[in-house]
Amino acid sequence: MTQISKTRIATSDPVNICKGLALFPQIGTSRAGVSVSSNSGNLFNTNDTLLLWRLSANAGFEIFMGVCGPAYGVRMDLEGKAENRTIELTVSNDELAAGFFIGCNVRLYFNIILDENTPHWVWDGWNSHLELQWERLAVLRPEIRVDMIDLILTVIRLALDEQGSKDTLLQKANSITPALLGTWGLYDDRANTFVSNGGKMIVKPTFNIPIDIVSRVPALNAVNEALKPFFCRFSAGFQIGVQIPVTVEMKKVKLDTTEYTGLAFKDGKVSGTSTGNDPDSPREIKVELDHTPGFDLTLGVFANLNLCKLFNINASEFIPVLSQLGIKVKLGTYPNELSNTIGSTNITACGCGQEDGAALVDVIFEKPEGLAI
């Protein structure tokens, strides 16, 4: 009989997504990586005469963002024995965290000019008369640069609490690149679920929320204050949607070169069988983890200006975040191996074949024609 002292298997300890395994790796790469991207666009540009008013309005945006992940980090302690070509391990202190960290700076600029056609007396002797002339009522040119995630943090946390999903966490972290004002992580972290889930760990960090930022940014709020007397309203904001369902499953256990497969989970233990002999004094325990990820990230920018029920202009843009960041999604199941010296609970390295640089995975977009009537 071979005794296996308690051994810790992990990507890092404590679990850290940025030091974890990439959810969408190509063959030969597995590191989470950091990606950055920038983008800009116009939202609307209009010049309209509305009765006695003349409105000139344009708006645009620039976005700079960086992402760490999407990735998962995992940790578990294994202890047990191998006998008669059967291994039996007790799994404890398991933890899985999956998600990604994102920093997003946004620069929004607006030009709103409102003129009014007001009557003026024109002195011209016998031809003196009243004439309508344009007078400038307001010139509003706010420009802001904000840490977008920081700005909407309160609203997002409120959303997560309201939905009862206390497991889905959004926290500020150290910035992942100097150019970002802040970095926020969206991830789901479950502890001690491995055995109760029959050898699977499942997390599903999700949120999807449209947010109006105008009243939360003083420069933009000043625009609305100026427009209030005219029963005019300006809205601008973001729609953010993220979902990263991840299932991680233990598929094989190796003691040195002896491989145990057909893993079964029962009564808090995992057991498997081998076609080879149980090693006498194995030095290393290796665990193969298969993960099946999903990932969807949408970022929309919108702006709306309405004057009573008379006039409305509305614009929105959805940004293909994944392709902008060089992240491509290929659905499937990916294997990874984690190992440690038997008896050690010290995690000094991921042991997961790290390479430099973010990995790109192929993505396929559906052509719109396929969706039309």
Binding site: L51, P229, F302, N304, L310, E317, P368, A372
Partner: protein, 449 residues
């Protein structure tokens, strides 16, 4: 030489102002039943002016142009007081005498008001009334969130839908942004709002029908962004102003992008994401999701030939709020370009910029129209010489009020009409706001004679 019209104008101070309607030639005409006759004249009265007292003791400082009325003789207006707080006020009028009499006035909602849900109003974003006297409003509150509120029978505002309220079908939640709202008979509400469906990570904008003014299983999403544009290739990307009428018929100002533009953007990597959606008019019924048709569309959208060939279909941008009246007759204005506007009603062109008004002046701009319950169409034009308020019956157009007319003894210098959908009641009374020679702004009611 003084005309009969000048004589009547001179008597205006004593009688309110009796304005004889000035007729113009045919505006198109409609086949079928004879057109509703346009009243021979209107009497106009100033019923409240800047400087007057408001309920609660404040003084009315300005009336920017928003006014509504219903069949209960309730007149509503949006104004600011001397503290620069804006609010809606209601005047209960008696129209039975020789001039309108104020019976009662109250404050409906004002910035700074505390609501039933303990929130404080910071801005009134949108509002509408119906013939029950119910008042629906989109209110922005001190927690930096917006929501739909409804006041039934003057009992105070109850919150109906707000941030994270579950959708009528329970499959998602409302977001933090609410758009236009319209309320009709039985307190049925049509509302534009952002929402987050459970099964999608992309938030959407939707047109919600809330029967009885409540979020319940009877409510539904009538249209949403990512829907296909009816009768065209492409997807809806946004929604603007909406009007709801009898039998659940509605008109919606919407925005969309053609399929080609969507595919082109997906292929681009990096670079600016320019791509302005085109606007359109969607006409439909809340009772039938397949009833939606296009009334107009931007030239950037590829419209089916059957729709483009339809009588009254127009190509151009829809920047003004569309209106709908009885018999599902839509009234809307198309911007062919930035200066060329065309007004349509009941599938016919009524007037365009560059044409002559009933008073013979060249029209340079006009307001969104208002449809009366008898089918008469009311709209304001700006001409190279002034302003006119016009009534159209499908055949004739007549000016019922113009700049420099005298109302209650003072000369009218400018006025605003058409900023809201409910500005004409079933008796043909009209409400608008105006600026006078005496320096005061007033709420004006016109009564047909």
């Amino acid at each position: 030489m003084a005309t009969r019209r000048d004589f009547i104008k001179g008597l205006g101070g004593a009688l309110g102002a009796v304005v004889l309607t000035s007729s113009c030639g045919s505006g198109g005409g409609t086949a079928g039943s004879p057109p509703v006759p346009i009243p021979n004249g209107y009497r106009f009265f100033r019923i409240i002016s800047s400087g007057d007292s408001l309920p609660g003791g404040n003084t009315l400082a300005a009336i920017p142009g928003v006014a509504m009325l219903n069949d209960r003789s309730e007149v509503y207006f949006y104004g600011s007081d001397q503290t620069e707080a804006n609010g809606f006020y209601e005047l209960l009028m008696d129209f039975s005498g020789s001039r309108p009499t104020l019976l009662q006035q109250r404050r409906v909602v004002r910035e700074g008001d505390r609501l039933r849900d303990s929130k404080t109003v910071s801005q009134i974003q949108m509002a509408d009334v119906n013939n029950r006297g119910s008042f629906a409003a989109i209110l922005h509150t001190d927690d930096n969130l917006s929501g739909l509120y409804l006041e039934r029978e003057k009992q105070g505002f109850e919150p109906i839908a707000g941030y994270l309220t579950k959708l009528p079908d329970g499959k998602g939640r409302f977001g933090a942004i609410f758009g236009d709202v319209d309320i009709h008979t039985n307190d049925d509400i049509l509302m534009v709002a952002h929402f987050a469906p459970h099964d999608s990570v992309q938030g959407q904008q939707g047109l919600f029908h809330l029967p009885g003014g409540e979020v319940s299983q009877k409510g539904r999403i009538v249209a949403s962004t990512t829907d296909l544009i009816p009768e065209a290739g492409g997807f809806l990307t946004g929604m603007g102003l909406v009007d709801l009428h009898d039998d659940g018929n509605f008109v919606l100002q919407a925005y969309g992008t053609s399929s080609e533009n969507i595919f082109r953007k997906q292929l681009e990597k990096g670079g600016a994401l320019n791509g302005r959606a085109g606007s359109m008019l969607i006409n439909g019924s809340v009772k039938d999701p397949f009833s939606k048709v296009l009334g107009s569309a931007s030239s950037s959208l590829k419209v089916r030939k059957t729709a483009a060939a339809r009588t009254g279909f127009s190509v151009g941008e829809l920047k003004y709020g569309p209106r709908i009246g009885g018999k599902n007759n839509a009234a809307f204005i198309t911007h062919v370009n930035e200066t060329h506007l065309v007004l349509y009603y009941n599938s016919r062109q009524v007037v365009s910029t560059g044409a002559r008004s009933p008073l013979g002046e060249v029209i340079t701009s006009f307001s969104a129209p208002v449809v009366g319950s008898d089918g008469l169409l009311y709209y304001q034009v700006v001409t190279d010489k002034g302003l006119e308020l016009i009534v159209y019956n499908g055949k004739d157009s007549k000016t019922i009020l113009s700049k420099d007319d005298t109302v209650d003894g003072s000369v009218l210098r400018s006025f605003f009409f058409g900023l809201m959908t409910e500005q004409v009641d079933s008796s043909g009374r009209v409400v608008l706001t105006g600026d006078f020679e005496d320096g005061r702004s007033s709420l004006i009611v016109g009564i047909p004679i």
